[in-house]
C-alpha cells in the first residue's frame, strides 16, 4: 500500500479519577506494595456504589468564568483533563502546535437537570392535559446553557474554545467502544500520515441518576458495598460506575523526535470488533482479535489491564478468554482496572492506555488490585502490556502498548 507506517507514541497524558489527579498520584496509589484502596461512595447514588470524581481546580485549566458557566461537570472534567494532556505534551499555549492538533473525543452526554426533570414528572403525572402541561413545564424549566452543556460534541467544542485545538474535531459516541474507536482511529491516521498529533480521550461522571437509569434498563448495576470485579463474578455480576477524565496525546515518532519530546510508550496495535453477544460470541471475537496481535507477544509473563465491567455473562467470558492465554504459552498478570476506578465508560479505554503507558515508562507494573487470587504478582520490567476492553452491551477490543527503542519519559 503506502509508504512505511509511522510509529505512534504517547507523548502526553491527562488523568483525573476517583483516585486523584495526575500520573504520580495514580502511580503511588497503585504501586504501594499492597492492595489499593478504591474511593467509593455508597450514599450518593444508593443503593448503587460509585467511584466519585475528586475535587479538581477547574480554574487551573478553564480560567474564564464565562467559559466555566457554559458547561456542566462532565464538560468541566473532560476539558480539564484535555488541558492536562496538552500541557504535559508541551502543546498547551503553543498556537502553532494547537492548530495542527486533531481531536477525537469519546463522548456520552452532559448532565440533565435532575431537579427540573423531577418537577416536570410530578406536575405532568397529575395533569389532565399532560401533553400541553409538558410543553409549559419545558418552557419554564429548561435553560439555554443546559442544552449546550448536554450536547455531546460540545466537550470537543469547549476544548477548542478553551485550549485552542483547531485542526479536525470529531466526537465518537457509543459508551466504552467510543473510547476504543477514538484511539484506534487516531492510531490509524497517524500511522498513515493523516495527521501527526491527536488529542484523544473522554470523560464520565458516575454520580448521575439519569445514567444509572440507562444502565438499569439492562439490570446491569451492582448494589450495596464495593466488591472487586472478580468477587462479583460468582455473585451474579454487576457494574460499579466510576468517574474519570482521561486524555492522551498521540504523536507520530517523527514529529515527537523533531520537537524533542520523549514518549511514555508506543501504541503497537489497537484491534476491535463486535458481535450480537449470544452466548460465547464475545469470547470468539476476542480470540480472533488475539490472532491479530499474538505475533507481537512472546511466551512468558504478560501484564494485562482488563476493563471487564462486571456484567454477566460477559465477565466470565472475558475471564475465561484471559485465562486461556496460557494455552499460547502466555502467563497473564491480570489487573481489572474497573475494580479500582469503576467502569468509567467512554473514559475507560483511554484511562487504561494511560495506565499502561505509565507502567511502561516507569519500568514496573501495578500491584494486584484485589486479593481474590485471580490477579498474579508481576515483579518484572514490562516491555509490553495487553489491554482487554469489552463494552457492557456491545463491542470487544484488544490493544498492545509497548516500548519504543528510545529513552522514555519519567526515567530522567
Amino acid at each position: 500500500m503506502s509508504a512505511k507506517k509511522s510509529e505512534v507514541w504517547v507523548t502526553g497524558i491527562g488523568l483525573v479519577s476517583s483516585l486523584g489527579e495526575g500520573p504520580d498520584t495514580h502511580w503511588a496509589q497503585l504501586t504501594a506494595g499492597k492492595t489499593p484502596a478504591p474511593s467509593v461512595d455508597t450514599q450518593d447514588q444508593a443503593p448503587y456504589p460509585v467511584h466519585p470524581i475528586v475535587d479538581f481546580e477547574i480554574a487551573a485549566q478553564i480560567p474564564k468564568r464565562s467559559d466555566q458557566r457554559q458547561m456542566g461537570q462532565w464538560q468541566h472534567l473532560g476539558t480539564y483533563a484535555a488541558g492536562l494532556a496538552l500541557d504535559d505534551a508541551g502543546i498547551g499555549h503553543n498556537p502553532g502546535l494547537l492548530a495542527a492538533t486533531n481531536m477525537i473525543v469519546a463522548a456520552g452526554g452532559g448532565e440533565r437537570d435532575i431537579e427540573a426533570d423531577n418537577s416536570i414528572m410530578e406536575v405532568v403525572s397529575k395533569s389532565d392535559n399532560p401533553g400541553e402541561q409538558l410543553n409549559t413545564c419545558l418552557n419554564n424549566e429548561l435553560r439555554p446553557t443546559l442544552f449546550l452543556a448536554q450536547l455531546s460534541n460540545l466537550m470537543a467544542g469547549n476544548i477548542s474554545i478553551v485550549h485552542g485545538v483547531t485542526d479536525s474535531s470529531r466526537t465518537f459516541m457509543g459508551e466504552e467502544m467510543a473510547g476504543v474507536a477514538a484511539v484506534e482511529t487516531a492510531v490509524a491516521q497517524i500511522q498513515n500520515g493523516q495527521g501527526d498529533i491527536f488529542l484523544v480521550g473522554g470523560a464520565y461522571i458516575a454520580e448521575r441518576v439519569d445514567m444509572a437509569m440507562l444502565m438499569e434498563f439492562g439490570h446491569t448495576l451492582w448494589q450495596g458495598d464495593h466488591e472487586s470485579v472478580w468477587t462479583r463474578e460468582d455473585r451474579g455480576g454487576g457494574m460499579i460506575m466510576g468517574s474519570a477524565g482521561a486524555f492522551l496525546i498521540l504523536e507520530s515518532r517523527e514529529h515527537a523526535e523533531a520537537r524533542g519530546i520523549k514518549p511514555y510508550a508506543r501504541i503497537n496495535k489497537v484491534v476491535s470488533d463486535r458481535c450480537n453477544r449470544q452466548a460465547g460470541a464475545a469470547r470468539k471475537v476476542a480470540e480472533r482479535l488475539l490472532e491479530q496481535v499474538s505475533d507481537q507477544i512472546p511466551e512468558g509473563p504478560l501484564p494485562v489491564l482488563s476493563g471487564c465491567c462486571g456484567v454477566q455473562p460477559q465477565l466470565s467470558e472475558e475471564h475465561e478468554f484471559l485465562n486461556a492465554l496460557s494455552d499460547s504459552g502466555i502467563n497473564p498478570a491480570i489487573r481489572a482496572v474497573t475494580t479500582v476506578l469503576g467502569n468509567t465508560l467512554e473514559a475507560q479505554f483511554p484511562a487504561n492506555v494511560i495506565l499502561a503507558s505509565l507502567a511502561i515508562s516507569r519500568g514496573a507494573f501495578f500491584d494486584p488490585f484485589d486479593n481474590s487470587g485471580v490477579e498474579q504478582e508481576y515483579a518484572g520490567h514490562p516491555e509490553r502490556i495487553l489491554i482487554s476492553s469489552w463494552g457492557h452491551w456491545r463491542g470487544e477490543s484488544l490493544a498492545l502498548i509497548d516500548t519504543p527503542d528510545v529513552p522514555l519519559r519519567g526515567k530522567d
Binding site: 456520552g108 414528572m121 418552557n139 442544552f147 449546550l148 460534541n153 460540545l154 466526537t171 467510543a178 434498563f217
Partner: protein, 427 residues
C-alpha cells in the same frame, strides 16, 4: 490486472456507487429529486405531539410508522434502514446482509424521550416514590431490555451493523449539524488509508420531540413563522428568522475507484476532497472574520487539488438563520472571490428543513444527484433576497446547467466546520 488509479496526492480515488435518501419530501431519491427540482416544501405543522405553548410549531417531520408511542432511536433507526437499503441495492455491493466494509453513522445524541420517561413514571411498582427515585424503582422492577438496547449511544449503529453485516466496530459520531459530512470524511479517510475498499456512510435523525423544539427555541435558533410552514425556511432571504427542524436520513456507499471498476459497479460520482477546521470563537457562532470557515473551504479545495473556479455549484449549509447565511456568504466571497459571481449556490434546507445530524449526508447525496441531472435545485421562499448577500442563490426556480463539481458545506454548534467536494466520474 488493471492499473491502479490515484488522485493528485497519490491516494486511492474515492467514488460513490450507491445513494439512498429519505426526507420530509419523500422516500427514495426519485421522489426526493422530483420534489426538490419542483421547489416543494416538506415542512408542515407538527402533529406528533401537542404544540400549544411552543414558540415553534412546525417541522419537516417524517410520520412515525412504529407501533405504540413515538420513540426517537427507533425512528432514526427506521429512517437509516430505509436509506441504507436503497443505497446498498443501487450499489449492488457485497451480498445480502454482508456489506464488505466499515460503518460510519452520524446520529443525534438522543436521550430517553418524555413519552418513555412518563410511561416508566406511571408504573405502580414504585408505590408513592416520586422523581427519579420513582423511575429507578419502576425500572428495577420491570423489563426494559428493549430500552437498554435502544438508548445506548451505540444503539443505532449496532443495530445497523446487525442488519447490514458491516465489518468491524461501527462508529457512531456526532459533530452537531456537520455530523453527516463527518461520516463521509471518516469513510474517505478509511479508504485512503487502505483499511478497506468500501465504507457505508449514514446520517440519520428522527428526533423531533417536545424537548428538542424547546431546547432550540431557547437558543432562538428556530423559525417561529408557524402560520406559513412551507414558507418558513427561507435561506438567504431578508426576513429569515431561524431554521426549521426536520427529519431524514441518507446513505452513501463509498468505494475505491479501483475496487468499483474491478467489480463493474456503476459510478455515481467522485469524492474529490474534504476539509475541516475547528473554530475557537463561541459555542454557537463563528469567528466574526469567518477565518475558520474560510480555512475549511480552502483545505477542501487543496485536498481535492482544485481551484475555486473549478467549482460549478455550491450546495450551501444555508440554514436560514441570520448568522449562518451571513457568515457562509462572507466565507464564500473571501475564498471564491470573483469566481463567486458566476457560481450558483442553493440551500436544500429551504425545502427539506434542517435535518441536523443527517443534513451533511443528505446534502452530499443531493450534490451527487445534481451532477447527474445537470439541474440545480432552487432555494425556495426567496422572494426578497438579503441585500447584503450578493450571490446567485437560484431563487425559487431550478436552474438547468451542466455541473461537474459541487462543494457542499456543513457547519455546526461547537465550532464544527466541514466542506466536501464532489465531481462527476473522471473520463
Amino acid at each position: 490486472m488493471s492499473q491502479s488509479v490515484k488522485d493528485h496526492m497519490g491516494r486511492p480515488i474515492i467514488v460513490v456507487t450507491g445513494i439512498g435518501v429519505v426526507t420530509s419530501l419523500g422516500e427514495g431519491k426519485e421522489d426526493n429529486w422530483r420534489n426538490l427540482i419542483s421547489g416543494k416544501s416538506g415542512v408542515r405543522k407538527i402533529t406528533r405531539f401537542p404544540t400549544d405553548e411552543l414558540r415553534t410549531q412546525i417541522a419537516g417531520t417524517i410520520p412515525w410508522e412504529g407501533a405504540g408511542r413515538y420513540c426517537a432511536p427507533v425512528h432514526s433507526l427506521t429512517l437509516a434502514r430505509k436509506s441504507a437499503t436503497e443505497a446498498i441495492a443501487q450499489s449492488n455491493i457485497g451480498s445480502s446482509g454482508s456489506f464488505p466494509g466499515p460503518l460510519f453513522v452520524a446520529v443525534s445524541p438522543a436521550e430517553t424521550n418524555w413519552d418513555q420517561r412518563m410511561e416508566i413514571y406511571s408504573g405502580a411498582a414504585a408505590g408513592n416514590a416520586t422523581g427519579y427515585d420513582r423511575l429507578m424503582k419502576n425500572v428495577v422492577a420491570g423489563d426494559f431490555a428493549d430500552y437498554y438496547s435502544l438508548y445506548q449511544f451505540a444503539s443505532i449503529a449496532e443495530h445497523l451493523a446487525d442488519d447490514f453485516g458491516t465489518r468491524g466496530l461501527p462508529i457512531s459520531l456526532t459533530t452537531a449539524c456537520a455530523s453527516g459530512a463527518t461520516s463521509v470524511q471518516l469513510g474517505v479517510e478509511a479508504i485512503r488509508r487502505g483499511d478497506t475498499d468500501a465504507a457505508l456512510c449514514i446520517g440519520t435523525d428522527g428526533e423531533i420531540c417536545e424537548e428538542m423544539v424547546v431546547r432550540f427555541n431557547l437558543l432562538s435558533a428556530l423559525s417561529t413563522q408557524n402560520d406559513d410552514p412551507q414558507g418558513a425556511s427561507k435561506p438567504f432571504s431578508k426576513s429569515r428568522d431561524g431554521f426549521v427542524m426536520a427529519e431524514g436520513s441518507a446513505t452513501l456507499v463509498l468505494e475505491s475507484y479501483d475496487a468499483a471498476k474491478a467489480r463493474g459497479a456503476n459510478i455515481l460520482g467522485v469524492v474529490r476532497g474534504t476539509g475541516e477546521r475547528a473554530d475557537t470563537f463561541h459555542r454557537t457562532r463563528s469567528k466574526p472574520d469567518g477565518s475558520a470557515i474560510i480555512d475549511t473551504i480552502n483545505r477542501s479545495l487543496a485536498d481535492a487539488g482544485m481551484a475555486p473556479d473549478e467549482i460549478d455549484y455550491i450546495n450551501a449549509h444555508g440554514t436560514s438563520t441570520p448568522e449562518n447565511d451571513k457568515m457562509e456568504y462572507l466565507a464564500l466571497s473571501e475564498v471564491l472571490g470573483s469566481a463567486l459571481d458566476g457560481t450558483p449556490i442553493s440551500s436544500n434546507k429551504s425545502m427539506i428543513g434542517h435535518t441536523l445530524s443527517a443534513a451533511g449526508t443528505i446534502e452530499a447525496a443531493i450534490s451527487l444527484l445534481t451532477i447527474h441531472a445537470g439541474v440545480i435545485p432552487p432555494t425556495i421562499n426567496c422572494h426578497e433576497q438579503d441585500p447584503n448577500i450578493l450571490m446567485d442563490v437560484v431563487p425559487n426556480v431550478k436552474k438547468e446547467q451542466a455541473v461537474n463539481a459541487v462543494m457542499s458545506n456543513s457547519f455546526g454548534f461547537g465550532g464544527q466546520n466541514v466542506c466536501l467536494i464532489f465531481s462527476a466520474e473522471p473520463e
